[in-house]
């Protein structure tokens, strides 16, 4: 059991990071910390993708000295997927932080609990 876990250490780390981020995103009342947790989840996904793409003894798919020897390079697709993921993560973070800034301007708090109460008060 321990041996398998050590063999798959990056995947296990990624799963733990992902669930940590998920729990925090679900239960933390602070909106900023929700965004932080979301970014932790993103990082876990990138770690998973990058570690899956790795093969011992091979290098990233940047052809050196003109040789296209297939057995020397790893799959370029996980790297491309991580790139896509980073871009989307940056965009979503920026958008949600802007929304939070507006919420703070309107209600003076970023706490979910206080927000719910403030919204109710405003509605009445």
């Amino acid at each position: 059991m321990l041996h398998t876990i050590i063999e798959n250490r990056f995947a296990v780390t990624a799963v733990i990071l992902f669930v940590t981020g998920f729990v925090n995103m679900m239960v933390h009342p602070n909106l900023i910390k929700k965004v932080v947790a979301f970014n932790i989840m993103d990082s876990a996904t990138f770690l998973m993708l990058a570690s899956r793409g790795m093969i011992a003894g091979r290098t990233a798919a940047i052809l050196t000295d003109g040789g296209a020897d297939v057995t020397r390079y790893v799959n370029p697709i996980p790297a491309g997927l991580v790139l896509t993921g980073i871009v989307v993560s940056v965009s979503v973070s920026a958008f949600s932080l802007a929304l939070i800034q507006r919420i703070y301007g309107a209600y003076g708090t970023v706490d979910m609990r206080e927000l719910l109460e403030a919204m109710k008060k405003k509605g009445e």
């Binding site: 398998t4 876990i5 063999e7 798959n8 250490r9 990056f10 995947a11 296990v12 990624a14 799963v15 733990i16 992902f18 669930v19 998920f22 729990v23 679900m26 239960v27 570690s51 899956r52 793409g53 790795m54 093969i55 011992a56 990233a60 798919a61 940047i62 052809l63 050196t64 296209a68 297939v70 390079y73 790893v74 799959n75 370029p76 697709i77 996980p78 790297a79 491309g80 790139l83 896509t84 980073i86 871009v87 989307v88 940056v90 965009s91 979503v92 920026a94 958008f95 932080l97 802007a98 929304l99 800034q101 507006r102 609990r113 719910l116 109710k120």
Partner: protein
């Protein structure tokens, strides 16, 4: 008329027939109104507690399922990894003479998967549009609020002198990464981020007014829109040509130009984020 019938009518686009809900108002009238706020608070408390418990249980289940999956995967970095398939043979084997790019990843994301990267650029473009919509300080009061005390603070001498030394290096490095994206590690996204970081450092050290001398709102919009347009145009031409059997030198130039276009979009997006968050305008 049953609920299902009125629902199907609603789906068909007819005006929904209101369901008969007579008993409800009567019930509401008989209830005393006074304890409602306390009741609400209690209900909210109960809901939040239930929510937290459910979240923890769901996360624990998720952890178990994902851990089982992670342990069942083939060992890290083993040669039998499922990513070592015919895709890598195809890409590594023929990327160089099909896309002209020695950096197979750049060749792949800008050529074989060019639509994907175009979508990414559009996501960045839309993100900065949303940030603009949300944070644009439309009047002087908002602008003063957004600027805060940062404007009045004296510029830091250490920061300015270090920036004078470091900025040319960052700019050169960013250009190098951007223009060599197709032959070495780097490319539009990383090079654009480095150039954006250089702009942000410039703005921090010498004030946003110094950046405004050459990077006004007009230039910002022009740069990011031109970047996307160049990408769309080049890739459209490339696809229209049939995308196959293009001379590898020509394909290399297409990859380079698309890379630079992506770099422009990323650079202006990074600086746009910084600028809108700090002072609510460009």
């Amino acid at each position: 008329m049953s609920a299902f019938d009125s629902f199907t009518k609603w789906v068909d686009g007819e005006k929904p027939v209101p369901l008969k809900t007579e008993p409800k108002p009567v019930k509401a009238k008989t209830e005393p109104k006074k304890p409602a706020p306390i009741d609400d608070k209690k209900r909210l408390d109960g809901f939040l507690r239930l929510y937290a418990w459910c979240a923890v249980v769901i996360s624990a289940l998720m952890l178990i399922v994902l851990l089982i999956g992670a342990v069942a995967l083939p060992a890290f970095a083993s040669p039998g990894n499922p990513t070592d398939n015919e895709v890598v043979r195809r890409y590594v084997g023929s990327a160089e003479h099909e896309t002209g790019a020695e950096n197979v990843i750049a060749g792949m994301i800008l050529n074989y998967r060019g639509f994907d990267t175009f979508g990414e650029s559009c996501v960045l473009f839309l993100a900065v549009c949303c940030v603009m919509l949300l944070l644009w300080a439309t009047n002087d009061k908002l602008r003063a609020e957004a600027a805060g005390s940062g404007k009045a603070a004296p510029r830091d001498a250490i920061l300015q002198n270090v920036a004078k030394l470091v900025l040319p290096c960052i700019l050169c490095f960013g250009m190098c990464v951007l223009f060599n994206g197709h032959v070495s590690p780097g490319g539009g996204f990383s090079g654009g981020s480095i150039l954006g970081a250089a702009l942000i450092l410039f703005a921090v050290a010498f004030g946003a007014e110094a950046v405004q001398r050459f990077f006004t709102e007009r230039v910002f919009n022009t740069v990011r829109i031109t970047g996307l347009m160049i990408y769309a145009l080049m890739f459209g031409v490339y696809i229209y040509q049939g995308a196959n059997g293009i001379d590898s030198n020509l394909a290399r130039y297409i990859v380079l130009v698309i890379d630079i276009a992506v770099g422009l979009v990323v650079m202006s997006t990074m600086y746009g984020f910084y600028s809108f968050y700090t002072k609510g305008e460009l």
